[in-house]
Symmetry: C2
Amino acid sequence: MSQDKKKLDAITSMEEDFAQWYTDVVIKSDLIGYTSVKGCMAIKPSGYAIWELIQKQLDERFKKTGVENVYMPMFIPESLLEKEKEHVEGFAPEVAWVTHGGMSPLQERLCVRPTSETLFCDFYAKDIESYRDLPKVYNQWCSVVRWEKETRPFLRSREFLWQEGHTAHATAEEAEERTIQMLNVYSDFCEQVLAMPVIKGQKTEKEKFAGAVATYTIEALMHDGKALQSGTSHNFGDGFARAYDVQYTDKENKLQYVHQTSWGVTTRLIGAIIMVHGDDNGLRLPPLVAPTQVMIVPIQQKKDGVLEAADSLCERLSDVARVKVDKTDKSPGFKFAESEMRGIPVRIEIGPRDIQNGECVVVRRDTGSKETVKLDGIEEYIKALLVTIQKDMYEAAKAHRDLHTYEARNWDEFKDIIENRPGFIKAMWCGETECEEHIKEETGASTRCMPFEQESLSDVCVCCGKKAKKMVYFGRAY
Amino acid sequence: MSQDKKKLDAITSMEEDFAQWYTDVVIKSDLIGYTSVKGCMAIKPSGYAIWELIQKQLDERFKKTGVENVYMPMFIPESLLEKEKEHVEGFAPEVAWVTHGGMSPLQERLCVRPTSETLFCDFYAKDIESYRDLPKVYNQWCSVVRWEKETRPFLRSREFLWQEGHTAHATAEEAEERTIQMLNVYSDFCEQVLAMPVIKGQKTEKEKFAGAVATYTIEALMHDGKALQSGTSHNFGDGFARAYDVQYTDKENKLQYVHQTSWGVTTRLIGAIIMVHGDDNGLRLPPLVAPTQVMIVPIQQKKDGVLEAADSLCERLSDVARVKVDKTDKSPGFKFAESEMRGIPVRIEIGPRDIQNGECVVVRRDTGSKETVKLDGIEEYIKALLVTIQKDMYEAAKAHRDLHTYEARNWDEFKDIIENRPGFIKAMWCGETECEEHIKEETGASTRCMPFEQESLSDVCVCCGKKAKKMVYFGRAY
């Protein structure tokens, strides 16, 4: 975008129109560009660098648990997709179909993968023979396609980037263990790296993945009080194994079906970062996913020694942070606003007077607080500050989430909350899909999950008044 | 693959049948698996880990030159593909077409990207306004699809992984400079990381990329004497900019077309590693792209203290190398063969007697040489050894390449060499496509490149006898 165009006009405020605020942030912080391909976005350097930081840190966590990366084809022959009945019913309505290769029609049409369970099953059926080949704990980083009608950058697009793990195990217990293990990897990652608290729990029958025995989820609360499903982990039991004939010979030389799992997170996490941490000045990035952590803005940069001092400070800080100097010919005020819009966690201002005093001014993006700091020992100061910001951003997000989590003990309370206080609603539920559907219809709120940490708010279902089975998190969701 | 199946029968020898040898190595070293998707392969953990090492080291080199990563959609609307005439003619015959989204036919069909010049142009046309926005030096790591009729793992498959850089510059000079700069990044990378010498040069008019003004290439010689195009860098001039209307306002506020480049390498490089370095015992990986650099094989591992000693050695070496202990219940002999098949650069044997003597046995995969080494100081020894192996493998590959590079001064010599001595042929050429085509028809040899390092072998074209313009590398190629 050109300088002239980049006026950095104020963005729409969150209060006024949250959806417009989101779009403004995504565009003005230069994360994406629109393309001529309907429903698909171009992820620009500032956006993709966040994804690279997510990939790197999540991949390291995966590998520590024994995950190995692979790459499967992006196409699924129609006959292969159709083998697992629930799965194909869930996905067929939203896949893109390849019907021609070069000038010729294909004998069998291929769908562009919406997810790769079927391909991994096909692969495992050939690759697994005996118990010695188990477990298989494979993952791939790739893009998938789902033909969505309405799209929004990062939250819902026809093509998106993700990772999908697919595992095969000898026993049901081991598969369940891996399913929960990966959910925990996700929740730790969200809390420790994205500074985003999540609720861990199980999806209801209605909301679970097509073909799964159990789907577990992490649910986060956005700033507008809507929920965002941020990652899921599925236990398939031996359902896919039976459909795709994935068998192994056990120690007694008997044929057994494997037990499988899959789990994934997507570029949607970038949308979550924006909507959990952003404010009316733009993006706010937790330091661990900030491509630039510190932006140095020289003041009166044409004066002797200012740029040199900025460069030397940058050099000194480069061991403890990802740091840059903004040397463009924009005004300092413009640079401040731009650095804020892009969510850079720390801004350092340094001008002739600061240099004379052996100081600089350090401004936090998360709180706006401003401090004059001695250049002597600045490395340690910045290093510690980034840790503090990371922690404080998590605490702030958690406080917001907790403040907007409500309890409904009966239907009137439920309706009152959903209409007046956007957020999570904890409520008791009888376990019937009927009630779930009724609640959704009446209020727009869906079951987000049955949290692992159950509480007993009352004995009866918030909707039908019959005996309650589970406490559930409800919410309107993205 | 199961233990029982994994007999590690000898593979076909290179001499006997090079193509079969290649297939055997790819399968038995566990790099890929076949899939039910015709022409597409599954890249298994051992293969993908090589690609990850290539990605990491190449990406670092890119970023040092100012490259930023992005992600563009995988689909290209037909109307967008068609804007540059030469380009669409080059690619339309081999693209996959998406015609349906979900249950409905699309209004306009989309091709799955065979390469993304058109998408980057579309993006740049919107994103670039003034000279201040230039240069754009973007890259993406993704997969692309070309509907090949005959496929071979890594060398030619319907879907493959690659990186594609796409840049936009204010001047023709700058674009040419970037084109050459990236070619040099590739050649340095191939030589320093893949231990593979390459010839740098320019493609002829006939062989250049569809839509390019000039295509530069790095060409490597495989063990069977065939050439492999290993990376290309294209200068587009302002041809694409004119077709896609990518303009900027210069300092005088005049509208100008940008000048563009693109450059890419693919998973084909893994094929190159196999065919440059492999031998009749399997793969040989240069240390810098070996996912496991050192395999420790315990001897008489059931004896007291052996596994402990192996583990402790592994722990000590883990700071200087990617190291593993093979603790499976296979025999040492089987483990040796397996480690060789997978190309692991160094094997360490350690048994009760070695432990008693404070020693271990170190075996090099590249030369087969075997040495008894004191455990005291083993870290430094292994660290230095990996550097030596990396260097020696390059020297060996270069010696082989040089030995199989011939000069032909006339047509009889050319025919004699091509029939009896597989390798590169250096010969003079008049510059006419006719001669190029004639040579290809008669001998199967194509022009690989007009090398930057020109020599004057004679004054006349090796084919027609007319005045020579360039020295060219010819060869039969993959």
